[in-house]
Amino acid sequence: MQLIACIAAIVTVLAIAQPARADLMTFQMTVGDALASVGETNAFLVSIGKNARGLKLVPGGTKFAGITCAGFGDVYKLGSVTVLDGPAAFAERVTTKKGKDAALLATAFGLAGLTPWVPPATEAESDRQLWAATQVSPGVKFATESLDNTGTNDGLLDASSSAGIFRFRAQVPPTAAAGASYRFLVELVGRTASVDSGLVAFGRQRCFTFVDLVPVDVSVLDRLVNESLEDAQVRNGLASRVALLKTALLRRDFVTALDIMAYIVGHLIARSPEHAIPAAARRVVTGVFDVRRGLDFRPATAECGNGTRETGEACDGTDLGGFTCAGLGYASGTLTCEPSCLLNFGNCVALPVCGNGVIEINEECDDGAQNSNTAPDGCRTSCKRSFCGDGVIDIFEDCEGSDFGDDVRNCKDLGYEGGTLKCDPEYCEYDDERCDEGD
């Protein structure tokens, strides 16, 4: 009986200790995000009133728990950004006044709805020169060597570098809503620029803030499409494109991935507001551009042409990341790497089948049985997208040849006095140059 009780206790402990589901997500924090977080956090600290006991205004910001948050980006240039795992980190990072300041900070930031995550963060990189990422307890630190080097100001960042990126991957719990942001506790350290090669002492300031980040992973876009779009036809159509996008990204076929993303954005614009409410379409379009930003990231250390495939590169020289034509679903052929570090599928041999519902090489679209030569905006039976001149008035076309649609027959129907209405053969729009304005 004792043994059974013991096993039961162990099972119970293991069940309790089982961590909640967490996803490995990719985050990109810009320098602008980091700098803007100072004001946003200061406003938050003010708004929680007595929970930020002792908070005072100082020129350009606040002073709370012995820490002044002011002047980042102008007076104090950014020298390091550390993403911490939560309010518990204050005990380790703030050791003044026998822990009183740390406790004050932990109480205040405990109200901010910070995302719990478990270090280490992986694949931490920055696109800023002279910046490097290191694992620290408890979190990940991005810093420039100039922070402690009085002889140079190189690498220190101000508002003019707001597009700079700090990227990392972290295990985070799933959000309740698709496309929602995660809130990370961040420690910023800045310093004033040195003059006279360090002969004049520089000032230094440290500040704790929080930054809201939306992951740049395609899984977020997948959720957005499935949870935001109500029209089943639009949702299913785009879900299949997102599936193709995932495959393309897995293959590091960035050219195809970009093409699919452009298609998704275009498709949503064409279907909104009739088949996708504008707010939902806007969310999904934002999700596409978030993924796009993830693809654009290039770490400062990456160098196309050094023979090693790095973040943002599909390949480099002979380093093809283990990919082959056959491995990517082609019948045969030889995969190569272009000087721009993109995979070249030109010598891969595929046997595309128009009508099988899969977009293959030389196909612009393939909706399977839905391919049609008469449906507006449909994928044509040649697996080409609808185009001006195909004889069908598509959603954004006014006319095709002599066909002006159901509502318009002549200039008068467009509000003119009279004249001859034509159809622009290039863009399939009304050509009203010969319509008469009247007096």
Binding site: S47, G60, G71, S272, P273, T286, F396
Partner: protein, 335 residues
């Protein structure tokens, strides 16, 4: 200080009122005196040289987050704002008003919103206690000035547009007069990004592709403590950064984007066509052209238009099209 030169439509009455607000006589070299001199000189002018009729929209999420965003911005600029900013009752004081956070206090809700005419116009329409020092505080926050004519439309449930007055475009809950808070906006509306309020104002200075800094008076209410009596009301002034969502904004974006001649001409042609329909009172048809514009940008986004520029144009075009399909009747015509 370009706005100072564009005060033409404000007459002597405005200046007298301003002098009444600035009860003490300023010293000759003080900032207040210089500001006043600028206003008087500006007041002698006439129609602004670069005035522009611009459209802005506000979603519930914009309004609910506005006090916090403004607080962040004002705190960052506190070094230059001086005594125009401070702490009061656990919130940020701007001029004489306090805008409490709606995200931090879920019981507080917005029942009235007014877009104010700018540093000079704002003090003329808010209460006397709020007006003190408001002109200089708004000026320090680079607040834009707009002139009549202006209009406001709302499609927010249980909200109505207020009768237009000079220097204010207002909206209030239908039960505002009686203290009925039905439809009031609070923390639970923080994710509602669907535009609920549309304002068209004549900006004295064109913001180009940037956001316009607009003065907004926000009235918030606490829940009623006694049956039949309204909850405690507070009005405060904040400055909101809003993007114009109209054809002019798209033109400005096209002009600011590196493009080939053919693409630039094509995009401008679409906007010209939209303008033609708009001029004929066919807003929904113009909205369709704007969506064509967005679609063309999307199709060229990987080849001819850099993604960051494409994203800006697509987002703004979608917002502009939505602003033209705003009311129930417009929406019906757009679908």
């Amino acid at each position: 200080m370009a706005w100072m030169l564009n005060m033409g439509s404000y007459g002597a009455g405005s200046l007298v009122l301003l002098l009444l607000i600035l009860r003490r006589v300023p010293r000759l070299i003080s900032p207040t005196f210089l500001l006043l001199t600028g206003l008087i000189v500006g007041g002698l002018g006439s129609v602004p040289a670069n005035a522009a009729q611009r459209t802005f929209v506000l979603a519930p999420s914009d309004l609910v987050s506005a006090p916090d965003l403004f607080g962040a911005k004002a705190l960052s600029r506190s070094a230059t704002l001086g005594r125009a900013i401070g702490l009061k009752r656990g919130a940020i004081r701007f001029a004489k008003g306090v805008c409490p956070s709606l995200l931090a206090d879920p019981t507080r809700r917005i029942t009235r919103v007014r877009l104010l005419g700018g540093p000079v116009g704002a003090p003329l329409v808010v209460g006397r206690s709020l007006a003190t020092g408001l002109t200089s505080a708004l000026t320090l926050m680079n607040t834009a000035t707009w002139l009549a004519p202006a209009s406001g439309t709302t499609r927010q449930s249980s909200w109505i547009s207020e009768a237009p007055v000079s220097d204010a475009v207002g909206f209030a809950t239908t039960g505002f007069a009686t203290g009925d808070q039905t439809g009031a906006l609070g923390g639970s509306n923080a994710v509602d990004a669907s535009p609920g309020f549309r304002m068209v104002v004549n900006l004295a200075s064109d913001p180009g592709i940037d956001r316009a800094e607009l003065a907004v008076a926000v009235t918030t209410e606490l829940p009623s403590k006694k049956l039949g009596k309204p909850g405690k009301r507070t009005e405060c002034i904040l400055v909101a950064s809003l993007e114009p969502v109209d054809l002019e904004a798209l033109r400005d974006l096209v002009a600011a984007t590196p493009l080939g001649t053919v693409t630039r001409n094509r995009l401008n042609f679409i906007l010209d066509t939209a303008q033609t329909f708009l001029d004929r009172g066919k807003g929904p048809r113009a909205a369709r052209n704007i969506r064509t514009f967005a679609l063309e940008v999307a199709q060229r986004s990987e080849t001819e238009i850099a993604p960051s520029f494409a994203e800006a144009m697509i987002n703004r075009a979608n917002a502009a099209a939505e602003a033209l399909c705003f009311t129930a009747a417009e929406k019906l015509a757009c679908n």
